[in-house]
Symmetry: C2
Subunit: 391 residues, 2 copies
């Protein structure tokens, strides 16, 4: 950037926004020395500029007028952290039309309006960076897009929702039910009061859409792939997985190229205990991927939180300051011929059945499986304790 | 890069060089679409252009004359893969003086001649990229330098030598002696016939020098920090670590900022089994780091090998094509006040003593430790089997 001072505007002074302000407060000197320019957080806009966020901010930086950012010709980079679809989309498009670069953590918006946003960036010759949108503070999308750019990817497996991973980890560590652990997670602030978005896989699906674009150059809408959450996982499943199959259960985002057909899916998955992803526990995220040149890679770290997410947001600002030129967003020509239907996938599958204890039951079940051409990989039978309800 | 065709010269057609040629052969289309330019491997120079490397290369690309690369004004980026100090240094400096960008995997050269090389790049307004020099194919240095640029780092712990890690993993998995596993590693090509450089920590130390620059902006010479290898690790150590301390032994590169004092060291370390680094096994590498904003991050992948290393080298080429502007190399102002002497460190330490079985021995040992103000954290005593030699 051919300027001595870079001006930044921040839309949204919530949790992540406060983290960004704190990061600038704390490490501005480090940043300015790295880019060899002054970096000035010129304006922070929010509807609420009264509530104390616990971070220092000069009063004249705060404003409730969005045009103080959108229409200020001196602002070079705009950070959008209000989330949601509108007015975030309107703001981002306007900002880019005004020749400003954009940094955002808004996975929902990118997942829904990808084509419109990227084509607007291209038309206006500006960059949009969104490292924080997947995997929080983990350097993930840029390494995938840049460091690993020489690879055709074979598969990406991600644990990218901290709430779901926290619940599954606690269920496994403490032997408690899904409901009990969810309540604990809500009390600790790891789960929302309405946890649907996290536990039913929607958040994971939005992030997977972005991973699939960067990894495979293929944009998918969420309604076009299989998304299944963790709310039906029981203690029995976790115990069987561990004791009988030497696996843990993780909510995985999976995207995988098989003979030019792309599998895209989100569901609870049995992960062998000797696989590195089984060590990604608690609120942490981990993404394991395989490239045709590099082989297997994993990135691990905090997938959410005020400061980790701010780390990615401010990292994106530095990236733009050091390179304003347009970059590619994933492969520009996708290797994907067709997206596989979930019904067409060949994969191992886990079935747990609670049956009456009488002769011939196993025979009947195995007969049904056989009729449908399903081969049994591994089987274990346990007597239910007296009084166990049919679930 | 404001050209429609980018010309690349490759110096060194050995293992990694062949991997680079194979990567261009295989994924050129992907690369060219990403950068929206033609990418042309114009010249490959090696003393030996006769031996078949098992990868396709057009005969007119090969040359034994280094000036075909150094002095060709059409070549924009030079990949140096001959390794060692000279003539690699001479070539790299000449290339930069001629206004060409450099990509190298040469950790030894960077570790020894860092200041000269970086200042030459700065003077000539070119970039030098060296992702492949640490951690092979793992996206590591660029994420550290760019994605995580808003962080002051607190610590970096790296398993960055595949040979040493393979030996320690095999010793642990198969209960074999260091010597037996080393022999096996040599047979599989995971260890050199003279393995000193890998097993005594020199390779790890060179990589740590580069990590310390990028992470902490501090350049250290190898003779100024503690480097200790794994050749004295026995089966007993591995067994005690696992059975008594629930740890594994890893050769770690450690750099850590404590009150503005930097600890830099390479030595075998007890890693708790519940730490993610304990899951980095075999020839794989893993680097775990803590940033003041992001918290803990780990990157994992293949730390060596023809194609993984080529993935990093070609990724660097793409980086340069997309951004020719000078970038920073780590913090430009180091937070390090002083480098700690190994003798001044406070740390847990592991001692294994083989003593005569007679009364008063433990009393005497504990007396010596106490006299030197050393507190015992955990102790275990075992009877040696009959015939166990004093080692």
């Amino acid at each position: 950037m051919n300027k001595d001072v870079v001006n930044i505007g921040l839309i949204g002074f919530g949790t992540i926004g406060s983290g960004v302000v704190e990061t600038f407060n704390k490490n501005l000197d480090l940043l300015e020395n790295k880019v060899n320019k002054r970096v000035n957080l010129k304006k922070v806009v929010d509807l609420d500029v009264k509530t104390d966020r616990g971070v220092y901010i000069s009063p004249e930086v705060l404003s409730t007028d969005i045009n103080d950012i959108l229409e200020d010709p001196e602002i070079d980079i705009v950070i959008e952290l209000i989330g949601g679809y509108q007015p975030a989309l309107k703001f981002i498009l306007r900002v880019m039309e005004n020749g400003k670069h954009v940094v955002t953590a808004n996975k929902a918006l990118l997942a829904k309006h990808w084509n419109e946003i990227i084509s607007c960036a291209g038309k206006n010759n500006v960059r949009i960076c969104f490292e924080a949108s997947v995997g929080g503070g983990i350097p993930l999308l840029r390494p995938l897009n840049e460091s690993l750019a020489s690879n055709n990817f074979e598969s990406i497996y991600g644990i990218i929702n901290g709430t779901a991973n926290y619940i599954l980890t606690k269920m496994s560590d403490e032997g408690k039910s899904f409901e009990a652990v969810l309540k604990d997670a809500q009390e600790r602030g790891y789960a929302e009061s309405d946890p649907t978005f996290d536990i039913e896989g929607d958040d994971t699906a939005q992030k997977l859409i972005i991973l699939t674009i960067i990894g495979f150059g293929k944009y998918m809408k969420q309604e076009n792939f299989h998304v299944e959450g963790i709310s039906s996982i029981t203690q029995e499943d976790i115990r069987f997985a561990r004791d009988e199959l030497d696996c843990c259960i993780k909510l995985l985002a999976i995207t995988k190229l098989v003979d030019a057909n792309l599998e895209v899916r989100v569901h609870p998955t049995l992960v062998p205990m000797n696989h590195l992803l089984s060590s990604v526990n608690g609120v942490f995220n981990g993404v394991y991927l395989v490239g045709d040149i590099v082989g297997p890679i994993m990135m691990y770290g905090p997938g959410a939180g005020m400061l980790p997410t701010a780390s990615a947001v401010v990292g994106d600002c530095i990236d733009i300051i050091e390179n304003m030129d347009p970059v590619h967003y994933g492969p520009t020509k996708t290797p994907v011929k067709k997206v596989s239907d979930i019904a067409d996938l060949k994969s191992k599958y886990y079935l747990r059945l609670l049956t009456e204890d009488k002769p011939g039951v196993l025979h009947e079940i195995s007969g049904i499986l056989s009729k449908h051409n399903i081969s049994i990989g591994s089987m274990t039978q346990e007597k239910a304790e007296k009084g166990t309800p049919i679930s």
